[in-house]
Symmetry: C2
Subunit: 273 residues, 2 copies
């Protein structure tokens, strides 16, 4: 049996009771580490907060483990119970869909244990979830690569009066360009995009394309460390949010569409005073 | 302190460890009963599965309690710890946003404990969450009332190649027309829209409007009892899904947009054989 268990967004105590039972009954426990494990106390060597709660060892499966060694992991799951832990909900990312497909192709039993993800927890800012359009991802720009495929999507959402959830780039365990050239693997330090960087990129693209999809006056909500004790939610224009220090990662951003009165009341609470 | 705790989608064991701690430490526990508590073993009188797990009494707060008596509940939360439990995630419905606004206006401390909701758990069917457009709600038609405001939204989503999540109507504790006329309250039995009814209504509207937003050949995914042990996921055309018995509620429906290869692989697993 393969359990795919969502850990939720905060810390180790955000696992569900069902998820905790699955983990405790599993022979082998992997945790996926290539999105974010910032608040779960996971270090490459030390005992993590997860291990303390579970009373058993947790193996960190980084991107390479999952993509290159999925078959070995699935073979284990054919003989015994294996739990694969994922930050947020298991279906936040394509990779996990792929893992389920592979498992099902091998005839394995798969049980998915859901949890909160940014896709629904963003509701905390007061904007109604059913009034969001397509979700976009904002990648880190480099000198040579400044993709703007998110622009027409924001434009579309705003034309329809819908809110836009912007997921911000996370770069963990990226091979450095230098190491790729030299043919041996060595990694860049992890990078998490801030709301500040996201807005700067958005405004750069707007200036280049000049189609007024949005402006520095456009109302947004910045959310940092969603689901954590010290979560931070601030509503304001892009220009205003550029001045806010949102602190440690993870960050995400919502570009506000047309609002209803209850939505506005909530945004007022989160407005910059 | 007011805790607003998401219960998730399956049964009493889908609460998070953090949520369970909040409930156990609270002086008073309410559970909101006007969306769905089908699988949580809650009866108006008997001891529920929730109460067994929590080791304390749970008061059922139906729509009237929440809307009419919110102030009394918030007064309690000013003096002691109160937990308000919600099926799914706390921000699936507007009502809870309103409760947070009221609590914050009174200067109360509010802690939201997130969980899975249909808005992210629907990812289990393999269609990527960031490729959904605006979510729609399909209401029960009556003889006099056959609203089709969802139609242009589906049309829009499909034009953009996006998937459409259709939430199906739930009628719990609706005053009967007869009782309203007689001036005393008495309620209709609960009604939960099936995938069959939803598709029939969709096709009726398409026939009336004739703008080819979709047809009986349009690919869909029907999901029943999402997050439960006996959850059912079937992919097929509207016409095909009309022939499927999805069993007990709750049901929801996805109208599929343009698909990527990994999405298609997953849909194949769920296709009608």
């Amino acid at each position: 049996m393969l359990y795919i268990v969502g850990l939720g967004l905060g810390d180790e105590r955000d696992i569900t009771v069902r998820g905790l039972e699955a983990v405790r009954s599993s022979h082998k426990v992997y945790v996926e580490a290539y999105t974010s494990l910032l608040s779960f106390g996971l270090s490459p060597h030390g005992l993590s907060k997860l291990e303390e709660l579970y009373g058993k060892e947790v193996a960190v499966a980084d991107r390479e483990t999952v993509e290159e060694r999925a078959d070995a992991m699935l073979s284990e799951a054919a003989d015994t119970d294996v739990a694969f832990l994922v930050v947020g909900d298991p279906f936040g990312a394509t990779t996990h869909t792929d893992l389920v497909v592979r498992a099902k192709k091998r005839g394995l039993k798969v049980e998915v244990i859901h949890n909160a993800s940014v896709m629904n927890a963003v509701g905390v800012c007061g904007l109604q979830l059913y009034r969001y359009g397509e979700t976009i991802s904002i990648p880190f720009f480099t000198d040579m690569w400044r993709p703007d495929s998110f622009y027409p999507k924001i434009q579309q959402n705003r034309r329809l009066g819908l809110h836009t959830l912007c997921l911000l780039d996370i770069r963990v365990k990226e091979p450095s360009l230098e190491s790729l050239c030299r043919g041996k693997k060595c990694y860049e330090p992890p990078r998490y995009m801030t709301i500040h960087t996201a807005i700067s990129e958005l405004l750069e693209i707007e200036e280049m394309r000049g189609e007024s999809a949005y402006s520095e006056e456009s109302k947004c909500v910045g959310l940092a460390r969603l689901g954590n004790k010290d979560q931070m939610v601030v509503a304001g224009s892009m220009k205003e949010l550029l001045e806010v220090d949102f602190g440690a990662p993870l960050h995400c951003l919502v570009i506000v569409g047309e609002t209803h009165p209850v939505e506005e009341e909530m945004l007022e609470f989160y407005a910059i005073k």
